[in-house]
Each structure stands twice: as structure tokens, then as C-alpha cells.
């Protein structure tokens, strides 16, 4: 799955490519692990990212730690705080992304304040410079994202919006229309974190979302086992995002890169083979 350097290709295209080749390879959905940049420290997080790429990631979601992550549950919140204590900064995390982007498309997940504080244009330039393909801002609803969308569009970066189970039809249309790269469907009403079971309404949510957008739909939040990943694919997801489970392993294991590799292979094989 490792790909050659694709520096000149705009991020939106690279992301589209990643989703379509997952399909072309006969897999059920694209696999997108989440990496907390700088956790447990920058060097180890870089190794974890490369381990993701080797173990079957189609794309990597690279989280930038933030002091007040309102969309995150305890595992990612704690990892972000630990990363900050270990000295992670946005430039440091983007360097982790740079090495990773040589192998897989990188979508940066970053809270609004880190963008606002730097200034949108400067931030977007730094993303492009690091080789990132897309951007997810979990606290930037469509009402607030007009300028960010323009800045990303200008640079070929995909600004990926989120849709939630609580999102009404009219908003979905607006979100779907301005989705670039893919649309991030939040599987449940809540923050990130592992759950015992997938939300029962997931298939309905996915069907609703898909009606309103031309881009692939990836599901995240609450997917912590290969079975849940397979079920999300069966429910209609074009991509599956795995976060807290991997971050937890990175925090617990003596050899984080080896631990996440093994886990990710499990997710990859659950998504191997076409939907029956």
C-alpha cells in the first residue's frame, strides 16, 4: 500500500485516489488510523505513523494536540495532554506528518484555536508545505468555515466537514455540498472513545449522509474492534477511522509501534475482501 512521493498532486486528488484504490483493490472500506502527533513523544509518534502505513493504512488522520479538545473523550484527551507536556507543538507535529505524507495521504485533525492564532493563510501554507492532503477541524461547523474552505480550496487541500447523528436534513445538504476529500460521519452522539457496540442507527445515518454528498463517507468515533470496522463497512461506510483504540495501545505498550502494527493488521484484514 505504500506509495511513491506525490508532492505535486493536490491533496483532494490524493485523498480521492486513496479511497478509489481501496475499492479497486477489492477492500470493503478504506482504513484510516488516527495518530496523536507527539504522543507519547514526537519521535515515537513518527514511528507509530510509519507503522500504520506499513500495516495497511490507506490514509492517516494526524491529530494535533490541543489543551481543550471538546470533541474528544478521555483517551485522546489524555494523550493530547501528555503530548503537550512532552513538548509537542504544531510545527513539530507537522514534521511528523511530512515523513508520513511520503507514504500515505495525511489528513490533519486540528482544533480551531491553533488555526485562528496562526492566521488561516499561514496555517494553510504550513499544511501544504508539510505535504498534508486535508484538514479536519472538529470545532468548526459550516457556519464558521467559509474562510477556511476558501483557503483550503485555493491550495488544493481538502477541508473535511463532520456530520453527526443529530444533524438535521437541511444541514446535511449544506455540509455535503461543501465536503472536500471525504465526509466524516460521526457514528454516535458523543465524544471520541471506544464503545461496547456500534450505534444502531449507523446505517441510517450513513444512508442519509451519502444522499447529500458526492465524496466518500468515512465513519469515525467509537470504532474500536475489527468487527465494528467490518460492521461499519457493511453499513455503507467508504472509510473507517480508528482512533482511541490505537492511541490507547500507543500509551500502554512497551513497544508502541509494534503494538499498533498488530492491531492495525487486524483491522485491515477485517476490511480485506469485498462485502459479501
Amino acid at each position: 500500500m505504500e506509495r511513491a512521493v506525490t508532492g505535486a498532486i493536490p491533496g483532494v486528488e490524493r485523498i480521492a485516489e486513496a479511497f478509489s484504490s481501496a475499492r479497486a483493490d477489492g477492500r470493503r472500506a478504506a482504513l484510516m488510523p488516527y495518530l496523536m502527533g507527539g504522543f507519547p513523544d514526537l519521535a515515537t509518534s513518527a514511528e507509530i505513523g510509519l507503522a500504520y502505513a506499513r500495516a495497511g493504512a490507506d490514509l492517516v488522520e494526524l491529530g494535533v494536540p490541543f489543551s481543550d479538545p471538546l470533541a474528544d473523550g478521555p483517551v485522546i484527551h489524555a494523550a493530547g495532554s501528555a503530548a503537550l507536556r512532552a513538548g509537542a507543538t504544531l510545527p513539530g507535529v507537522l514534521e511528523v506528518g511530512r515523513a508520513l505524507a511520503e507514504r500515505v495521504p495525511v489528513v490533519v485533525m486540528c482544533y480551531a484555536n491553533l488555526i485562528v492564532t496562526r492566521g488561516l493563510e499561514r496555517f494553510a501554507d504550513a499544511l501544504v508545505d508539510s505535504g498534508a492532503s486535508g484538514l479536519i477541524v472538529p470545532d468548526l461547523p459550516v457556519e464558521e468555515s467559509e474562510q477556511a474552505l476558501a483557503a483550503c480550496d485555493e491550495r488544493g487541500l481538502a477541508l473535511v466537514p463532520l456530520a453527526a447523528p443529530t444533524t438535521p436534513e437541511q444541514r446535511l445538504a449544506r455540509i455535503g455540498a461543501q465536503a472536500r476529500g471525504f465526509l466524516y460521519a460521526v457514528s454516535l452522539t458523543g465524544t471520541t472513545g471506544e464503545r461496547g457496540r456500534l450505534d444502531q442507527g449507523l446505517a441510517t445515518v450513513l444512508a442519509r449522509v451519502a444522499r447529500h454528498t458526492a465524496v466518500p463517507v468515512a465513519v469515525g468515533f467509537g470504532i474500536g474492534t475489527p468487527e465494528q470496522a467490518a460492521a461499519a463497512a457493511a453499513a455503507g461506510a467508504d472509510g473507517v477511522i480508528v482512533g482511541s483504540r490505537l492511541v490507547r495501545a500507543a500509551g500502554e505498550a512497551a513497544d508502541p509501534a509494534a503494538a499498533v502494527s498488530e492491531l492495525l493488521r487486524g483491522f485491515a484484514s477485517a476490511l480485506a475482501g469485498p462485502l459479501s
Binding site: 489543551s67 471538546l70 484555536n113 491553533l114 492564532t117 470545532d139 453527526a164 438535521p168 465524544t191
Partner: protein, 389 residues
Amino acid sequence: MTAVEHRFGPYGGQYVPETLMPGLAELEAAWLAVRDDRGFKDELDALLRDYVGRPSPLYLAARLSKDLGHPVYLKREDLNHTGAHKINNALGQALLAKRIGKRRIIAETGAGQHGVAAATACALLDLECVVYMGTEDMRRQKPNVERMGLLGAHVEPVEAGVRTLKEAVSAAIRDWVTNVESTHYIIGSCVGPAPYPALVRDLQRVIGDEARAQILERTGRLPDRLIACVGGGSNAIGMFVPFLDDHDVQLIGVEAGGEGLDSGRHGAPLTAAGLPGVLHGAFSAVIQDEDGQILEAHSISAGLDYPGSGPEHAWLRDLGRARYVAVSDREALDAFARVARLEGIIPALESAHALAWALSNPAGELDLICLSGRGDKDLAEALAELERS
């Protein structure tokens, strides 16, 4: 019908996870519907009168005035039921929650005053109540933790960060992200995503409306200076708003200077005037590092121990309409002790910041200070600090 403001100049907005957006829209629509509704207004006014004890008195603090050399009036929010201005907002929002059919209430609290107010409103209106509170604040505001328990609320300890107000707000917002369909979040100050800053201001402006009428009746004139402490800024905005067009009235917001603005250990984002940022859903004055990480605030007063500020205050500051200043822990403690002796009033440590600034900056002919709450909750903490010095 005027809209509910989302922005105050460049400040405000709705920087929250998508999951909450429908909840915010529902809240805004509900507020628009009841804001000018006779039935709602009558119900709230009756409660404010018979249950809270409004109007709160305007008191000419004679000995304080003598010290300062000019008349000083205190708006006695400390005499409200539950002991602070927070009840004005909590009752209004709890009534609103009932209207939109939400029977579970969450709130955050720093000093515990807002938590107690929310717990009280929920007891009165038969609503379930969960209050998030940092464990450091649970320690320093213990009486309020006990009051909340007695009132039937569940206090949820928050262990993140330095275990104070910022983390309590974050924890409450995360709860709301999970339970938005069944739950109303009663935020305790004019902060957070729209419509909260406008909603809380509208519910707190009763302070200023009353004070304006009272001071005109008593003195036949408007004050030279209005002085109020600013944590998130709800007692101050409630006091200021009815006077905004009275251009001769100076508006002064007093923030927590903590150990000094230079020390970095303070709660004065408006005064320090660093780069603004996004915290808890709004773009406003914040305390942050160059990378954009929000820093921990510090104040002896749990209610002012917050690195953010209401967006309308940031705008009033930029417009030059209001001025923001900071008072140190030490000065606030001294004013706490001094006003107790001078007036027989033990102020909340928050309110003591407003008093301290007035005491050390005598000017003009007539001051009106918002005494936002009483200091019973602060006795242990303040006495220990006073003894140490």
C-alpha cells in the same frame, strides 16, 4: 424582533462540534420565542421577586464613601437567594429548559455559586441536575459543594488539568455533546457559543436595569463609574448593558490579577490583551501561549479563575466603551477584610476585586459597584490566606 447576536464585532461565534449545532439552534429559537413572551416574563419576574428577593437593594455604603471621599453605592446581589447574581441566569435558563422539554440539567461551577444557583433552580422546578466542578475548587469552596448535595444535585468531580473552572466547562460541554437531546446546559457566564453570551446577558441585565432606576431615584443622576468584577463577565455585562448609551458613565471591569500580570499567573485576558483566541466555543480574549494552547488561569477567587472572557466584553474593550483593569490576589484579600470591617458586609472574593479597584483608584463623584455575591463560601480560604501574611 431583534435577532440573538452571534457576533460582537469580530468576537463570539459557534466553534463547537457539529453534534451540538442543532442543540444551539433549538436553544436560540426557544429564547427568541419566549424572550418577549408575556407568560414567560411574568413567570420569571414573579420568581425573581418572591423567590430570589428582587429587586436587590441599592445601598449607600456610608463608611466606604467616607474613606473614598465620594458616595459609593453597592448593588446588593449578595442579598439574592443563594447569595450571588448567578441565580438570575440559572432560574431563567431552567425555566427555558422546561419549556423546551429538557428535564436534565448540567452546569459547571468554579466558586460553586453558579452550581448552587443551578441546583436550586432545579430543585424548585423539579429537574435533574449534574454540576461539573474541578477538584481544586471543590476543596476551596467546600460549603458550596455541600449545599449542592443537599439541594439534590450530583456534583461530578473533574480531575483534568489544574482542576478548576476551565476544565469544569470543558467537561460540561463534553457531557452535552453526548446528551444534547435530553439535556440543557446552563452555562454560568456570558461565555460559550452563541446564543449563550446574549442569552446570559439578557437574563443578567435585570441588575443594571434595576440599578439605573434606583440610582436615578436616589440621587437624581447617573454614576460617574460603574465597577464590576469580570470572570466570564456576566455580572458586569448585566450591570453595563443598560448604561451603554450613557456615554458619561465609565464602565470598568475588574479582572483577577492573581500574582501579577507579569507573573503569567492571573485571570485577566481582557486587561493583558494578548492575541485573542477560541475557547469553549467562542472567539474572544483568552490567555494562551504562542502555539495557541490555552493556558491555565490563576486567581485566589475560584469564580475569576478562568483564562477566557465573554465576547461582548472583548468588543466593548476594543470599542473603548468599557475599560478593563486587574487587581491582585493580595489587593482583593485586603478589600475583603476591609469592607467586612467598614460596612459589616463580607463580600465574595470575586466581588472584592471590584471593591479593591474602587478603593485604590478614587476619582469622580459617584461610584456604583456591583457587589455580585457574599463571601461566606470564601471564609476558610480567605482566613487562611490572611493569616499567612
